[in-house]
């Protein structure tokens, strides 16, 4: 076992564990936020640079600090390593810069975006962003397109995390979409007129950290924070059939996978469960599901932040939330 200390919290992890996974093991506000890393998707991570942390001591054997900030999601723990996340002003300053970069071409159309309220970028900006933009140029624009009968692609909102690409690569056979072109002209596309039709393709919606991929069956139907979340299951021939229903009264507005405290789905669900089973009689309701997030959906009201509090956008840790 390897010993690692993150912001003063020490834990032991197995060899090969990343700094981020070690931080998640410790839990709380010292967990770096992630926009591209997804523990269930092999090869994901390293791209968004949101989880950069400072390694102030490399290891017991080689205590030199690492010269640059490192991506915690892809840097393996060394024995005796010491890491600073929220205790490093440099890390927080850099995170602010990353938010700025992610937002310069983002349309900031939260008021008309279905992801609002459960958007990782929204949470990240709330925690680490600033309220003005230094970007004066026009933002880049793509057309909104359908990539499959039930999936809408708003490329303008995409932050190129590659999660949807890894998802179809790893849980479906036959990927037909990918990241095309390069630089800031990169886009998620099928290149030719094509539809992502596969029993599990809908999971790209769940893994998308922003509102780039949204569920057409739920589009503009309701705001997520007005809905009640219920754990549900059914006997599904294709997937495990364990999901979450987003309900108002007895009506199911949408079905998603069950997400853990870090916003990752516990199990991928099939398209039949997601898009076609909207009747409450299709499901067995287990009971209310607690959505552990900073976002307003879990409480249906805004929380007043303590002055200077640092919230972790993945795992909500705010002391004594008080109502406005």
């Amino acid at each position: 076992m390897l010993k690692i200390t993150i912001d003063g919290h020490t834990t032991e992890v197995e060899e090969g564990t990343t700094i981020l996974e070690a931080a998640r093991k410790i839990g709380g506000e010292i967990v770096p936020p992630t926009m591209c890393y997804y523990s269930k998707l092999k090869g994901s991570g390293g791209k968004c640079r949101t989880c950069l942390v400072k390694v102030s001591k490399g290891s017991e054997n080689d205590p030199r600090p690492m010269p640059k900030l490192v991506a915690s999601c892809s840097t393996p723990v060394q024995d005796g390593m010491e890491v600073q996340n929220i205790t490093s002003p440099e890390v927080l300053e850099t995170r602010k810069a990353i938010v700025e970069f992610l937002l310069i071409n983002h349309p900031l159309d939260c008021p008309v975006c279905d992801q609002a309220g459960e958007c990782d970028l929204q949470d990240l900006s709330y925690a680490h962003g600033v309220d003005t933009s230094r970007f004066e140029e026009q933002k880049r624009e793509f057309d909104v397109i359908d990539i499959g009968a039930n999936i809408k692609l708003h490329m303008n909102r995409c932050i190129l995390c590659y999660r949807c690409v890894y998802t179809v690569n790893q849980i479906t056979n036959g990927r037909i979409h990918g990241v095309l072109y390069r630089g800031d002209a990169s886009e998620i596309s099928t290149f030719i007129q094509n539809a992502i039709e596969n029993d599990f393709s809908g999971n790209v919606i769940d893994v998308c950290p922003v509102g780039a991929l949204t569920d057409k069956t739920f589009r503009f139907k309701n705001r997520v924070w007005f809905l009640k979340t219920m754990d549900i299951h059914r006997n599904c021939p294709t997937c495990a059939g364990r999901a979450v229903a987003w309900m108002n009264g007895n009506e199911i507005y949408r079905v998603t996978g069950r997400k853990d405290e870090f916003g990752e789905v516990e199990e991928f669900i099939c398209n039949e469960c997601r898009f076609a089973k909207k009747d409450v009689n299709d499901w067995i309701i287990e009971g209310p599901r607690k959505i552990k997030r900073t976002s307003i959906i879990s409480v249906n009201h805004y929380e007043k932040l303590k002055q200077g509090a640092i919230i972790n956008p993945v795992d909500k840790k705010i002391e004594k939330p008080s109502e406005i």
Partner: protein, 194 residues
């Protein structure tokens, strides 16, 4: 890259038309694939795309890319991803001679921008356009790695260096005169490219 904020990557069409390398080329292609370990045949993608572009119409249509995917036993999207990443693969029809003028620093400071402007005037087309006779396409490209001989341009496989307006006139006129011939002959030390 332009300053237009609208990014309009059109969706390309598949016509399901018959595309096929000649038997001779297929032998070359198999020889390239054989360079790599078993199961790593995707490594042959970049060289084979060059060959496909040269032999199957001068650009990479979706049909051509699907054909290449079938040869390498990979998904078509894997070919699209690669072809759209690199600048040397043309996704749309280009002229017989693709005139690529370097626009990066060392060339630009030695008159490269004027050369490109002059070419546009001479051929009466803008950058990224093709002359109506289908002979010339102008592209402004980034550093061609010949900065000491600036300004430079590349036409298909040939580099042209220390360009002046007079040289451009001669090069373009010569190409027009021999446009009915095949592509430029191999230079002295040059074997087959791929």
């Amino acid at each position: 890259m332009s300053h237009e904020n609208k990014i309009d990557h059109k969706l390309h069409e598949v016509t399901a038309g018959e595309v096929r390398f000649s038997d001779e080329t297929l032998v070359r292609v198999q020889a390239i694939i054989a360079r790599y370990p078993v199961g790593k045949q995707k490594s042959a993608l970049l060289p084979i795309l060059h060959i496909a572009q040269e032999e199957l119409g001068g650009h990479l249509s979706a049909d051509v890319m699907n054909y290449v995917a079938s040869i390498l036993k990979i998904q078509p999207i894997e070919v699209y991803e690669v072809a759209t990443f690199y600048t040397q693969y043309y996704l749309d029809k280009v002229g017989k001679y693709v005139v690529e003028v370097c626009r990066t620093g060392p060339c630009a400071m030695c008159g490269g921008e004027d050369i490109a402007d002059y070419l546009e005037r001479k051929l009466a087309i803008k950058t990224d356009e093709t002359t109506p006779d289908g002979l010339f396409t102008i592209r402004r490209v980034e550093c061609l790695g010949a900065c000491g001989y600036a300004p430079v341009m590349q036409i298909n496989t040939e580099f042209h260096e220390f360009l002046t307006k007079e040289k451009i006139d001669k090069i373009i006129n010569d190409l027009r005169a021999k446009a009915h011939e095949d592509k430029p002959k191999d230079a002295k030390w040059v074997e087959k490219f791929f």
